[in-house]
């Protein structure tokens, strides 16, 4: 056995705080070490060549690289071993950057720590064994969860490549929030006009199975082989027979709020969510219909000419297998009633951004005339308040929601276009216009449309006759200010939707402290999750505008294709393994595994049936929780065996 040790300086990242020469010298006398060298950038081509040459010339068979985190460069150096015919699992990495040089300032102590870590690694490396990764087959179907613009884009891209794609949408129509928007910044093109062709494409695409009114209820399996159960609610209207004649609607006695119009107008229990809905069909809402029972009420069924209404329709459970999953479950607007001083919920004329979208829309509750909710009057002064909930870590959302400066500017500008003698005032903290043509859009709102921007927060909104009294500050003039307005629009921040939270917990996807699903790497893996085979599209992972959402979704589709295009996948070999002789079938490991990768199976042992734990190699992430739990020491870890860890501990405890 011949071990080669390589200490990386990482420019000054490591060498600035650690005496790398001293570390290299410390390894030389250790058992089995043939060579110990320092190099400026071990990951560079010459750095890798140095290792390659040593393997050939000195006959090394094991390699230790003391450098950055293995999550960065373990694959790089494993490839070097593999190329030279060595087993890649005979590489050991020591993290002397993130765990040493970056977190310490005392050079002497940091050097001592690096030496201890390296010594431990040498002792462990000598005990490492060659491992062979397993292979699993791949199902070439894709599942997209959530049918907003993100899910629509991802499904269309996957279907175009040729993969059979299921698009599961919780509500009766795809479209998401974008279907509720009137016009979109920075071009002011009509949201429905650019969205509906894509929605129609989804409905028609031969490779897409659209399941609206449906939710994923169970996900099992692993990358390439997810087994998914989807529940499709009954809609009580046959979409094939329904001719969209609208005869049923006026006869329905149930009148409730229309959520598409943000509850600003009524609808019936039988309805179509909006004219361009896909699938294009009326449905009966089970929760509000008087009973889905002809004995109670069947007024709609009686008038339906094509006999599309079927009270006997039942929910279905659909079971399918998928190779990859795209999560596109979107966002929700921040509940602005939480901001007590703005009075949303108790003051009629304080409304949300989405409500204003509907008020601006020609198909909205006011037919596109800007009217305020309390008395239907056209407001002469409208105040737009930015950061309603955002950028307030003490009480609300800590982050910037990214789209609201732009949509408040859009709202003010659209209002000025519709009410020529009206005054639009935006209260803001900072104006954030980071997107192509966004700054120009903001400047146009001020310059051409006279939108007034006041830098400062609003402290309270009070009712004063039929007007609103707004108090706040103008930090540019250092004055507290007050003014009257007829309508206030709050720019709600974005937060993860209930559906996003639900799917994250079902798929065991880690979330940020804010509840958005965490990317596998914030910069380099923005559409991957830590669960292989599960990808992110759109606002489920954080605030995004439409262009960014669409690009993200296409990225997710492309990343999913890298799995769907394979016949089989290699699975990392550092996973748990059970010593059947020691296992007594207690099942503690089964309960402890966060990835549900262990099951108890009946086995025949010398004529007796015994239960033993069996690890699903594809599901196991190699986290080690089970090994730590097993009282019998029966479940171990390939690549991290007890004797290897003990050797490390022994080295570290000898000072």
């Amino acid at each position: 056995m011949k071990i080669g040790v390589y200490i990386c300086e990482c420019g000054s990242n490591i060498a600035g705080t650690i005496d790398t020469e001293k570390v290299a010298r410390s390894a030389e006398p250790l058992p089995k070490v043939s060579v110990s060298r320092v190099y400026r950038y071990a990951c560079s081509e010459p750095g890798q060549n140095l290792i390659t040459n040593d393997i050939e010339e000195l006959g090394l068979d094991r390699i230790i690289v003391a450098a950055c985190s293995p999550s960065m460069h373990e694959p790089t150096f494993r490839a070097v071993l593999k190329e030279r015919g060595l087993n890649p699992y005979l590489l050991e990495m020591v993290n002397i950057r993130e765990q040493c040089s970056w977190v310490h300032s005392d050079k002497k102590q940091a050097t001592e720590k690096a030496i201890s870590l390296l010594t431990a690694a040498v002792l462990r490396n000598a005990l490492q064994q060659p491992l062979t990764p397993k292979k699993v087959g791949v199902t070439n179907n894709a599942l997209v969860i959530g049918g907003g613009i993100a899910g629509i884009q991802a499904a269309l891209d996957l279907a175009e490549v040729g993969y059979k794609t299921y698009l599961v949408e919780k509500t009766p129509s795809i479209g998401g929030k974008m279907a509720q928007l009137d016009k979109t910044f920075p071009t002011l093109d009509c949201s429905a006009c650019i969205l509906s062709p894509k929605m129609v494409d989804v409905g028609r695409h031969p490779n897409i199975t659209l399941l609206a009114n449906s939710e994923v209820v169970e996900v099992e399996g692993f990358v390439g082989n997810f087994k998914v159960k989807i529940k499709k609610k009954a809609t009580y209207v046959d979409p094939v027979k329904c001719t969209l004649c609208d005869e049923c609607v006026p006869v329905c006695p149930v009148i409730i709020h229309d959520e598409y119009n943000e509850n600003l107008s009524p609808r019936r229990a039988i309805y179509i969510p909006f004219p361009q809905a896909v699938p294009a069909t009326y449905i009966i809402e089970e929760e509000t219909c008087l009973g889905i029972d002809p004995l109670i009420c069947a007024k709609c069924r009686d008038v339906c000419g094509p006999e599309a209404i079927d009270f006997d329709m039942k929910p279905e459970i659909i079971e399918e297998e998928f190779g990859a999953i795209v999560v596109a479950t979107g966002y929700e607007a921040y509940p602005i009633e939480n901001i007590g001083e703005y009075g949303y919920g108790s003051i009629h004329n304080v409304i949300s951004g989405l409500e204003f979208e509907r008020i601006l829309s020609a198909s909205g509750p006011t037919d596109g005339v800007v009217r305020r909710p309390s008395d239907g009057k056209v407001p002469k002064t409208v105040v737009f308040i930015h950061c309603a909930g955002s950028r307030d870590p003490a009480k609300h959302l800590p982050y910037c929601s990214k789209v609201c400066c732009m949509y408040s500017t859009k709202h003010a500008l659209q209002y000025r276009h519709l009410v020529h003698d009206g005054t639009a005032v935006n209260f803001y903290i900072d104006i954030r216009t980071a997107g192509k043509d966004y700054e120009e859009f903001y400047q146009r709102a001020a310059e051409e449309d006279g939108v007034i921007y006041i830098k400062g927060k609003v402290s309270e909104i009070l009712e004063d006759g039929d007007q609103l009294l707004i108090r706040g500050v103008n930090t540019l003039t250092s004055e507290t200010v007050e003014m009257h307005a007829d309508l206030v629009v709050l720019a709600n921040g974005m937060m993860p939707s209930e559906g996003t939270k639900k799917i994250a917990s079902m798929l065991k996807l880690p979330v940020d402290s804010t509840g958005f699903i965490r990317e596998a790497h914030p910069k380099l893996k923005p559409v991957d999750t830590v669960i292989s085979g599960v990808f992110l599209a759109g606002t489920a992972s954080g605030p995004k505008d439409i262009p960014e959402t669409v690009a993200h979704a296409s990225g997710a589709a492309s990343r999913a294709s890298t799995i769907l295009a394979q016949k089989e996948l290699e699975i990392d070999a550092t996973i748990a393994n059970v010593n059947e002789m020691l296992c007594r079938g207690c099942g503690m490991c089964v309960d402890s595994c966060p990835y549900s990768a262990i099951e108890l199976e009946a086995k025949n042992s010398f004529g007796h049936t015994i239960k033993v734990a069996v690890v699903n190699e594809a599901l196991c992430k190699g986290c080690g929780t089970c090994s730590a739990t097993c009282l019998n020491g029966a479940i171990g870890h390939l690549g991290y065996t007890d004797n290897q860890i003990l050797a490390q501990i022994k080295a570290l405890s000898q000072k």
Partner: protein
């Protein structure tokens, strides 16, 4: 606690539009970066910075604008106009404020009330100078 009451009515609009008319500039082009005040050699002598004056014109706050000494301290050196990233002729706006005040001021000399003997001795140019104030 007292609040400065702000409104955006006729008076405010007329004041802003007059300044815009005299200066030929769109005050809403200003996004309050402060570059003008940052480079003005006399900012420390002004009781309101140049950008604050412009912001107040945006808001139509005539009294506050006129009460400041900013436009009187301004030497019309044009540094601000050259530097403004939004290409606003800031010095022209300072000039417009001065013009606005002069135009609003009551006439110091009413020609028709000047005694004949004074009129006869007065050079023509002095009379022209007095009339000019009322033009534009």
């Amino acid at each position: 606690m007292s609040y400065e009451y702000i409104k955006f009515g006729k008076e405010e609009r007329e004041f802003r539009e007059k300044i815009e008319e005299i200066s030929g500039e769109n005050v809403f082009s200003c996004y309050q970066c402060g570059k003008c005040s940052a480079g003005c050699m006399f900012s420390d002598k002004m009781d309101r910075t140049v950008n604050q004056q412009i912001h107040r014109i945006q808001m139509g706050q005539k009294e506050k604008v006129l009460a400041a000494n900013t436009h009187w301290i301004c030497a019309s050196c044009l540094t601000c106009s050259v530097r403004c990233p939004r290409d606003i002729d800031v010095a022209a706006i300072m000039e417009a404020i001065r013009e606005y005040i002069l135009r609003e001021e009551p006439e110091k000399i009413i020609v028709s009330e000047l005694p004949k003997e004074v009129l006869e001795r007065l050079p023509n140019i002095a009379l022209v100078g007095n009339f000019r104030k009322m033009t534009g």
